[in-house]
């Protein structure tokens, strides 16, 4: 496959992606008391603030457009298949001499011609071309008699949505071939307005995946059906904070990312914490977020 997904990235740097973060997660727990004792030896509780962030994904809704090479390859293989395969058992599927059989034979001749060409010329060149779309699938013709009394087939929806033309980044229908991720504009730990993934703080004794879902609802509204994949975080981000911020926050800040899929609905930001949102592809996310944040999440976003 030509696809580059997270698994492929992990395969290239197995230790970096799967084992090293896991080791760093364990070291988080081990280092936390030590770090707290060094900064404020009198404090009994470990000085760590945990956040749960959700990487909300809209998976592709269209198959990827094949490249020019792939299209040529598939056309070539289809021609070979058409040339060497067993003849179609017409008498098994159609009554001999029936209208349906004649229609099938006519369409089959067109498909043969489409595949191999021919020196002969068809009388109605234009309509013949119009009955096939670019993949060789016969389209419905408007002639009712030609369709044996059946209703004409509705043409498929275009692969490019309205929102792609208007540049509407809030639509869930944009870029159907790509993985989209939800980015919201809200305050980060310093109170600055930034683009980030929806996140929130963990409550006392709360599990990470439950906190992630709760924080997603708090920031993006309840008009959305989301499913969190697994209970384990897939990435961690630790901003380098100055001592003063650490004191106001109450310790080191760790943001754990969990993957989720949107199943239905749409984001409705509350307007207080979150002012804006966008469904973006990987390369559209990079210019919006900060550099160290991008370095933490880059490997877990899909290239396609």
């Amino acid at each position: 496959m030509l696809s580059r997904n997270v698994a492929a990235v992990c395969r290239q740097r197995t230790r970096a992606c799967l084992h090293a973060p896991s080791r760093s997660l364990t070291s988080v727990a081990a280092d936390a008391p030590a770090a707290s004792s060094s900064t404020s030896p009198t404090a009994s509780a470990p000085n760590v603030v945990l956040n749960a962030a959700v990487i909300l994904n809209r998976s592709p809704i269209l198959t990827r457009t094949p490249t020019l090479f792939e299209r040529a390859y598939y056309a070539y293989q289809s021609r070979i298949r058409r040339a060497i395969f067993n003849p179609f058992p017409t008498e098994f599927y159609f009554k001999t001499g029936s209208l349906l059989e004649r229609k099938f034979a006519r369409e089959e001749r067109l498909r043969e011609r489409e595949a191999f060409g021919g020196p002969w010329s068809l009388k109605r060149r234009k309509p013949a071309a119009a009955t096939m779309d670019e993949d060789g699938v016969p389209l419905a013709s408007g002639d009712q008699a030609d369709n044996m009394g059946e209703e004409p087939v509705e043409p498929p929806a275009p692969r490019i949505h309205e929102s792609d033309k208007t540049g509407d980044v809030k639509s869930l229908d944009r870029k159907g071939e790509r993985n989209l991720y939800l980015l919201v504009r809200g305050k980060d730990h310093t109170g600055k307005q930034v683009w980030r993934f929806p996140q929130g703080a963990l409550q006392e004794g709360e599990q990470l995946h439950k906190a992630a879902l709760r924080d997603l609802e708090a920031e993006c509204g309840i008009n959305m059906d989301a499913w969190v994949v697994g209970k384990k975080p897939i990435a961690v981000h630790q901003p380098s904070l100055p001592e003063s911020t650490k004191k106001t926050l109450g310790g080191e800040l760790y943001t754990f990312f969990l993957k989720a899929h949107i199943l239905a609905g749409q984001v409705r930001p509350d307007g207080k914490n979150v002012t804006d949102f966008a469904w973006l592809t990987k390369e559209e996310i990079e210019p919006r977020v900060e550099k160290d944040y991008w370095a933490s999440v880059e490997g877990i976003l899909s290239d396609f």
Binding site: M1, S3, N5, V6, A7, A8, C10, R11, T14, C17, L18, S22, R23, T26, S59, P60, T63, R64, P66, E70, Y73, Y74, Q77, S78, I80, R81, I84, F85, N86, F92, Y93, N179, V229, G230, K232, I234, K259, H261, S302, F304
Partner: protein, 300 residues
């Protein structure tokens, strides 16, 4: 000189554009041998590869593979301990116990093995789907197998040696192995089966999920065992999910639906979805994968 040129000219004219060596005429091409129908036989083995992008394969590689990696990940920060021996054994290296007999361990031990450590190389993947139908009336007359063979060919699109691929086995006959009085004898054909891999497998799965299962009456989902089911049984540890379709499901396949009357009898079938998962609890991982392809599962 002119006589030589005149003698050479016609030969050059015939061989023009065909031979790069001027001193030698181009070799005469032998016509291709032809088969009994008069169709030329090419002198290479023509093999048909993929003719289209597989939608479900794309779905697996773009979405499902990552999700399965996250869902099946087991955190093992340190290397695994070697498995504990089932019982004490005499050490063959110790000169005192060197020749003592160590009786071999009995029984099947492979279902008790833990799954391999989580790695991006062994993410669970669908390997093949086997469709299998036992035809009871085939013991009386093997002609009764012709309808099921035709139906499975229509459903699966598989054919022996299809596309010039010698691994394409097509529809196979299943023969009896045991002697059961009044029912089965060794060697008589009792059923048909077909193995699907690659794009064909994904096409079958999408037809099953989009056309057959939603229209099946009183179908709540594939029933799973309860929580008390042990995870180290052979069926739970081999990464195979099997289920059956009733005879009514045959008419719901669109390939059969178009000329349902052409088939003499309907029959039910077993479908085995085989994955590369192994070890304790592999079936549950296989179910998670299949539910990613939208096959419904129900608790019993």
């Amino acid at each position: 000189m002119s006589a030589q040129a005149a003698a050479r000219a016609p030969r050059l004219a015939t061989a023009a554009g065909r031979s790069v060596r001027r001193t030698k005429p181009a070799p005469t091409l032998k016509p291709l041998p032809r088969d009994e129908k008069g169709v030329p036989i090419p002198h290479v083995n023509v093999i048909v590869r993929d003719t289209h992008r597989s939608r479900l394969a794309d779905h697996y590689f773009h979405t499902l593979q990552d999700d399965m990696m996250y869902m099946t990940y087991v955190h093992e920060p340190t290397a695994r301990q070697p498995p504990r021996p089932a019982r004490l054994a005499y050490n063959p290296k110790d000169p005192y116990t060197k020749h003592r007999f160590n009786p071999p361990l009995g029984g099947n031990r492979w279902p008790k093995q833990p799954p391999p450590p989580s790695a991006p190389d062994n993410i669970i993947q669908l390997e093949r789907i086997q469709i299998h139908a036992m035809i009871k009336t085939a013991t009386a007359s093997r002609v009764n197998l012709l309808g099921p063979i035709m139906a499975l060919r229509a459903i699966s699109g598989a054919n022996e040696g299809a596309g010039g691929q010698h691994t394409a086995e097509g529809i196979e006959l299943v023969k009896g192995r045991k002697n059961l009085q009044g029912w089965v004898r060794p060697g008589i054909p009792v059923g048909v089966k077909v193995d699907l891999r690659g794009p064909q497998m994904y096409d079958f799965l999408s037809v099953l999920v989009e056309f057959v299962l939603p229209r099946l009456r009183e179908f709540q989902g594939i029933v799973m065992e309860g929580p008390s089911n042990r995870l180290d049984k052979m069926s739970s540890a081999s990464g195979v999910v099997s289920f059956g379709l009733p005879p009514a499901a045959l008419g719901l396949f669109p390939q059969i639906e178009v000329n349902f009357d052409a088939y003499p009898a309907t029959f039910g079938m077993h479908i085995h979805c085989m994955t590369n998962a192994k070890g304790v609890g592999a079936q549950n991982r296989a179910r998670a994968l299949l539910s990613g392809f939208q096959i419904p599962f129900a608790r019993s």
